[in-house]
Subunit: 422 residues, 2 copies
């Protein structure tokens, strides 16, 4: 039988009754003979409650102490889930990050996993126990508690699956899989049975918030078969049905020949665009503009530099909309003077729409199809950025739904296609 890792989010752990449902689901898998490791999040609201308490005491909480506090939510969850399993007659034991141990660096509140010791967990699996491990946390080399940052339990689950060489990591969540686009925007959106981890990476980073992006990176790096599936089905749904539901994140060589060219249309409305006009086109100019932005801890997404005309160029980039004004202030404050730029213009009312697909690599004409579709809808493209498996455009945000729907249809994503996945 297989070694399986389950991960449950805070909503699934949000009440006694829900925890009992999680236990019933896990017990079903265990009863089928699988070796089970479970990574639950804190009960919904608990981590926020703890962080709010910390902020009341210290406006900028000390990160090391904040991790000490914030990590307790998951510790309660694992203990309760172990009890719920024992109440069902299924032997179980819980461990914190430091007990496994899950070793991380010392970047408190956003630590990265360095290694996971599998000996202790494996011994309990060998003894027939379900092993329940806290998500979201670890221990650094000084023996301090660390946390991995928001959504870190996804990463914990995948990392633990990698360390144990698990057959599959199942992420139970409140959506039933990864869709060709957001069904709230396009009702015809379809669930993908499979997606490659490279596509998932692009979808995740583009705002399809199904999985934390670091967990997808982990899945890719350590080749962990990871499935996103619904936690809302009844816990007693037949195991074979459940095991094949949701969306499997897989690897390119596993995909069938009929893989669709485009897997999904992602979008992100949280961005804002800034253009520095008439910049002297000389080496180092990008650094002179973006260095101070980075120093101000502002993340930059797309970066575009147009071709030079007469030794002068326009330099554009996008930032999170919340940091738009801060970024403008940095540029007006220091950068313009230094580089002798012209006007600095910005637009917070933009959005980014992307077509993502591993099949794009071997198909020409995807970009032109995308541009033609938008053109036919009368939508002006302000910026374009491409990667091997993605084309992103920046457009005026009022056109977002229109663009997503048009592209979804143009790439045939609304067609029930045996061609997609298995």
């Amino acid at each position: 039988m297989a070694l399986i890792v389950h991960k449950y989010g805070g909503t699934s752990m949000g009440s006694v009754e829900r925890i009992q449902n999680v236990a019933r689901r896990v017990a079903k898998w265990r009863a089928a003979g699988h070796r089970m490791v479970v990574v639950p999040s804190a009960m919904s609201g608990e981590t926020n409650r703890l962080i709010a308490l910390a902020r009341e005491i210290q406006a900028q909480p000390d990160p090391r102490e904040l991790d000490m506090i914030a990590s307790t939510g998951e510790q309660v969850s694992v203990g309760l889930l172990a009890m719920a399993l024992k109440a069902l007659g299924t032997d179980a034991i819980s461990y914190t990050g430091w007990q496994v141990p899950v070793r991380t660096d010392s970047a408190y509140t956003k630590a990265r996993i360095l290694s996971i010791d599998d000996a202790r967990v494996r011994a309990d699996l060998d003894a027939g126990r379900v092993v329940i491990v806290t998500g979201f946390q670890g221990i650094d080399e000084l023996g301090h508690v660390t946390t991995l940052g928001r959504g870190g339990s996804d990463t914990s689950a995948v990392a633990i699956a990698a360390a144990l060489k698990a057959d599959e990591c199942l992420i139970y969540t409140d959506v039933d899989g990864v869709y060709t686009t957001d069904p709230r925007v396009v009702p015809e959106a379809r669930r993908l049975e499979r997606i490659t981890f490279e596509e998932m990476l692009e979808m995740a980073s583009l705002g399809s918030k199904v999985l934390q992006i670091r967990s997808v990176e982990f899945a890719g790096k350590y080749r962990v078969k990871t499935r996103v599936l619904s936690s809302l089905t009844p816990p007693d749904v037949p195991l074979q049905v459940e095991a094949n539901s949701g969306t499997l994140i897989t690897f390119e060589e596993d995909t069938s020949m009929e893989q669709a060219v485009i897997s999904g249309i992602a979008f992100n409305r949280d961005e804002a665009k800034i253009t520095v006009m008439n910049v002297p086109d000389r080496p180092g100019i990008a650094f002179q503009i973006l260095g101070p932005i980075a120093d101000a801890n502002i993340d930059v997404d797309m970066i575009i530099q147009n071709q030079s005309v007469g030794g002068m160029t326009d330099f554009s980039f996008t930032v999170h909309r919340n940091e738009y004004q801060k970024a403008l202030d940095v540029l007006e404050g220091k950068v313009r003077e230094t580089i002798k730029a012209g006007d600095i213009v910005g637009d917070p009312k933009i959005c980014k729409v992307s077509a993502v697909g591993i099949g794009m690599r071997s198909h020409v004409g995807i970009a032109s199809q995308m541009f033609r579709t938008l053109s036919e809808e009368g939508i002006n493209i302000q910026m374009i950025s491409t990667s091997e498996i993605k084309i992103s455009v920046v457009i005026e945000d009022k056109y977002m739904e229109l663009a997503v729907r048009a592209l979804h249809k143009a790439f045939g994503l609304d067609q029930p296609a045996a061609a997609i996945g298995a």
Copy 2:
């Protein structure tokens, strides 16, 4: 300057404002140059909340998992207190029991401390930090989290003080010290400036619930100067005043010659009496009666066997009132038949009143004074038990207040006496 351990109860840690007050108090001691270790309890109500949650999941929670959960309350407290100190500009760091580590046996939910490693705490003290350590918990040799049981934070504080050879351990609580008796019963009750740990042990075990009894045992065993004092004084009261307030638990050789004969009158209304009549007076009979009681996990307090008359005797003992019926059932169910006893009679409406005093050792006539006083009030004595520094009597519980007041006066405890303590 001195090495000082402070312990704060759940009420003192019960809100953001109260935690900030604790921090102000600790910062005052640190600013005076003392090396400070602080042991706070969980925020009031938190441990009960966690245990209730566990019980909803599993009626009899798995003890190992219960400790995993219950220990988080203190972990949150230490982090918040460290932040509150940092917010005041006082460097501080928090540690859990497993980080110190505080090693215990594996008796989950009621573990006993085996050893405490002082290296880590000492290094932080040397670096000028206030070190905040979770009470109530430790780690066993398998690396599982353990808790010490209700009130365990007192024990943690005294044990840490012992391990660090601290100059004094200050237990801040919601009473301002140890009294000659309960002021709610005798308004003239006086606060003792000093009490020996032996007396404190008797007072604690007899229901003066100022300190957990194991913490007093620890204080005695490792000769930790321990002070019980009020957490309700303003945090900015002058340090020298605060340092001399409350009641100091000290050692016999430290007490002055003028030590009063009796230090206090303790009482306990939670007991019930059971007598097995006409028991054959033969070896093993006590075990045959009390063995099944112990097997049923019922604690026995006083045990009295009257002199044999014609080969038959009466055997009496007291149990907690909550376990009275259970104890009767055990006796009626099995024991009576086995030992061929006569009637089994019981009385749940009793109480125990005790006079406690280290000076009793060298003074004859204390017992007779006690019996005369009760006789003058028309109070019948049902059982008597004595130790080197204590005389306890069982009386009808309606006479309790009368007996306590009469004895308090008869032993001169209502007199403001320079003779008591320092």
